[in-house]
């Protein structure tokens, strides 16, 4: 028990140090710096990390193959945006409609209790975003959770498309601005904290902090009795039921929890992109999140986080050169043209899917021991390469 406490303490310290570093980076790196892409990656990465972890909770832990994530993120993004557009900006945003909502939660609260009200208002809006997504999930879950694997996948995918169509419907224009984008709401680039003369920029810190807290909660859920019940359902539904686990109840719980966090990640997405528009939340987004989960390892929370950050940083930052003609000092404008980045990227993903089916982490979590063992393991692996190549060839001959 004591050892566990010590471990938890160390993890907490690591997380706090990480948050501190992010806060520092937020102050040091200016948007025009060469390294500012790091901030973009941290912002977008934390959005997708939360999305991937919440998908993993459903697909990886409970074994429910759902492809409706983009729909729940859409609900979160729109709820957040609709609740936080300042009243003065509404007429400009809803240029073709008469806005139905006439208040902004952060504005109302900041009028009441000062600057802290803005932060509180944002927080409340984020939580409401999650709750609305959760509510929709409950309603959708009633009919679809009875379905089996692929049918569930295609039904949830269908619901995501239906949600997208509803939010684009012109009759709902006063609420959703029709199919046009929502903007002008509280967004990361406006998150600042004034301490005397010094203004603290929080544009990266806030999304990272929200993601960290949410992922931490998911870890707690995973380790609770509920989490163990989810895993039992994944491993064997019949056995789980025989052990007294209420299948319908737990499946719904997992579906709603996952959607709650998907809604929050959608709200964060709106915050980071500074716009919300239904047409962005397509099934392709769900697929991308699924590929992040696969990359990191289905059933591993730390894997999903790593997968998401890798996915975002490679596609947004490191591999961008592949699109513009020059990468790693190699200049080949003929081959390195628009779209090559994504081709390389999808080939890597296919390799992972086919040959490293467990992804980076498998279903294990990143632990201190594992990190300590890395140098040794990597060395062993490199040493074993010749043997592996040999065995690869001999296998072929045997066939």
């Amino acid at each position: 028990m004591k050892k566990d406490n010590k471990k938890n303490f160390i993890s907490l310290v690591i997380v706090l140090v990480f948050l501190g570093i992010v806060l520092l980076l937020d102050q040091v790196i200016k948007p025009t710096d060469n390294m500012s892409m790091l901030l973009t990656v941290l912002q977008k990465g934390s959005v997708y990390a939360l999305a991937a972890v919440s998908m993993n909770l459903l697909n990886g832990f409970t074994g429910l193959f759902s492809l409706g994530h983009a729909g729940f993120m859409l609900i979160g993004a729109y709820t957040y945006a609709m609740l936080t557009i300042p009243d003065a900006a509404r007429a400009d945003v809803y240029q073709y409609y008469d806005p139905a909502i006439r208040f902004s939660i952060p504005e109302v609260l900041s009028n009441g209790i000062g600057p802290a009200g803005t932060a509180l208002g944002v927080l409340i809006a984020v939580i409401i975003a999650g709750l609305i997504a959760c509510l929709f999930a409950y309603l959708i879950g009633l009919p679809v959770l009875k379905l089996k694997s692929d049918y569930l996948a295609i039904a949830t995918l269908g619901f995501a498309e239906i949600i997208r169509a509803i939010f684009q419907w012109s009759k709902l224009g006063p609420l959703t601005n029709g199919s046009n984008l929502l903007k002008g709401f509280e967004r990361t680039s406006t998150f600042k904290l004034a301490i005397g003369d010094f203004t603290l920029s929080l544009s990266t810190f806030v999304p990272v902090l929200i993601a960290t807290i949410c992922i931490w909660i998911i870890v707690l859920i995973k380790n609770s009795t509920y989490g163990r019940a989810f895993v039992a359902i994944r491993d064997d539904e019949i056995a789980a039921e025989a052990m007294g686990i209420d299948l319908a109840h737990h499946k719904m719980l997992s579906f709603c929890t996952s959607s709650f966090f998907a809604g929050i990640s959608g709200a964060m997405m709106a915050m980071v992109l500074s716009i919300a528009q239904a047409s962005n939340f397509r099934s392709a987004m769900t697929y991308e999140i699924l590929l992040m989960v696969v990359l990191g390892g289905i059933g591993s929370i730390s894997g999903s986080v790593i997968g998401a950050f890798l996915f975002i940083s490679t596609s947004e930052w490191w591999l961008r050169g592949l699109d513009s003609g020059k990468w790693l000092g190699i200049s080949a404008p003929g081959i390195f043209r628009n779209g090559f980045r994504l081709v390389v990227f999808s080939v890597i993903i296919m390799i992972v899917v086919l040959f490293f089916r467990k992804g980076i982490m498998g279903d294990k979590e990143l632990t201190l021991e594992m990190v300590k063992a890395w140098p040794k393991n990597i060395f062993n692996w490199i040493r074993s390469i010749p043997k592996k190549i040999k065995s690869l060839f001999s296998k072929k001959e045997a066939k």
Binding site: S149, Y287, L291, V294, N338, G339, M350
Partner: protein, 308 residues
Amino acid sequence: MSLWQTIFPYILSGISVGGQYALIAIGYTMVYGILRLINFAHGDVFMVAGLSMVYLAASLPLYLAIPVMIILTVALGFTIERVAYKPLRTAPRMSVMISAIGVSYLLQNLALYITGGLNKNYPEIPWISDKITIFGATTTRVTVITPFVTIALVLILVWVINHTKIGMAMRAVSKDFETAQLMGIKINNVISITFIIGSFLAAIGSMLFFTNYPGVVPTSGGMPGLKAFVAAVFGGIGSIPGAVIGAFIIGICESLIKGLDTILMSQGVIAEQIGFATFSDAFTFILLIIILVFKPMGLFGEKQTDKV
């Protein structure tokens, strides 16, 4: 204007779209029947067929380009199965489905790279692109002949499945994978042939579809693919006639929904527009969910029990 005169053009274009969906849906339903796999990449195979036609027609005469395109598409379908699905035969179903999504992602990105992300104009195939008038509605010939081509191909396919050895093998494999194997059926060959037939029909479907709607983009396959899959589920997955009927129903409904505002206004049912067209894609999924909830095996699907 009479109701019939108003809705006839919609039904005409709906039947035509339905015929094209049907040709794609057969590929889905056959693969699902045998492998229990939603082949997410099938819609993209359809897109690649369209794209390869664009490039082939630029350098070859049409009578060569069409067969070469069909061969390439069939080869692609075959290769995808061998490379991306066969190694995962023993893996959980979720892994295979993820692999299918990965292939779909790869094909779309490859198409994006090759085309530079731009819309490619599909070559005009003479005779079938001609303008004709039928019952007072002007349209192209391809719209009219699509359902006939589809039905002819389906009849041939059903005959193959019911009266040939390979057809029998397919039926056996879809009934019981393992027993079929024990009976000496070469599973891998049967699966490959399924993919070949599916891709062949997708190639024909792409020719009809893109002649009708002559623009190919990397995402062209996505929506038609999904709708075709829904058609397959609707008709009862594994059942070929079911998939075809499902596809026609979805095609006609979709077309009618796009015109529903106009139809209702012309009949004086509603005074102003409601914006039903927004739901033309979503309606397909509403239909899907209704059928899944109330008749999970589809219109013509066989009742299956879980084996423990």
